[in-house]
Symmetry: C2
Subunit: 121 residues, 2 copies
DNA sequence: CCGAAGAATCGATTGATGTCAATATCCATC
DNA sequence: GATGGATATTGACATCAATCGATTCTTCGG
């Protein structure tokens, strides 16, 4: 079994609708994926490459982590749907999935400044 | 020493600029704060209250967690700058800090679609 | 095929984190 | 200042997560 590219359901509004237990679990998993220094730096490095993609071999050294560790982080990010894998010969390329990042971003969208008395059912 | 309300520096662009080790640490800490089902539900519940604030006594039951656990989560969120505390008599109120949420949200902002290759005519 | 290079998996270790019972603290009131 | 309600803190425990060395797997070149 490789990495499941199954896009995890995750992106309930959070601050707008009531967050159920299941939604909270899924969302937490998604945020956990980016709640790590190494993975954040991976995302940052990859996002800045042309095409928003990078070979693993170009990520190990700047990260300053062992190769298995980097591989692990890339897996987590991929399983979270934030990265997509593609093999090119010997190398493995990881590409940013902007839609997923954006979806996660929207979760933190605040409700309109102050909807005031608009409290309809 | 109660909860340090020190707003943690955290909000480097991530996907736009190169993310250094220290920025990554701070950012990871911030995201860790919301990378938990209980805390996400707390934020969700509080955000939906009038004034985006709620008394602890109104958060325990809907969360389904023990009081110390809720208190712990509220502390984490407050230390992350996402919530602000205010005492009112016997009760403690926690209020959402929208600016902080928004700041965290901006971290995930994508760079302009694709400034690299000339895709537009 | 064989060997080498790139990357993923395995196994173990260490540290962080969520959870709750018990206890302590703070505050209003009597 | 004793009492009771509302929160916070402490301590303990179990689980999860990050990390890396060793190994395995995959692919390409000869």
């Amino acid at each position: 079994m490789s990495i499941k590219a199954k896009p995890p359901r995750c992106c309930a509004p959070l601050l707008r609708a009531r967050l159920g237990r299941d939604d909270a679990e899924a969302l937490a998993t998604a945020f956990k994926a980016i709640a790590d220094p190494g993975r954040l730096r991976l995302l940052s490095h990859i996002a800045r490459q042309p095409g928003a993609e990078a070979c693993v071999c170009n990520l190990i050294e700047p990260l300053g982590l062992a190769q298995p560790t980097v591989s692990h982080h890339l897996r987590v990010l991929t399983e979270a749907g934030l990265l997509a894998r593609e093999r090119r010969g010997t190398w493995m390329f990881y590409r940013l999935v902007p839609e997923r990042v954006e979806a996660l971003r929207q979760v933190l969208a605040l409700p309109a400044e102050r909807p005031a008395a608009k409290r309809s059912a």
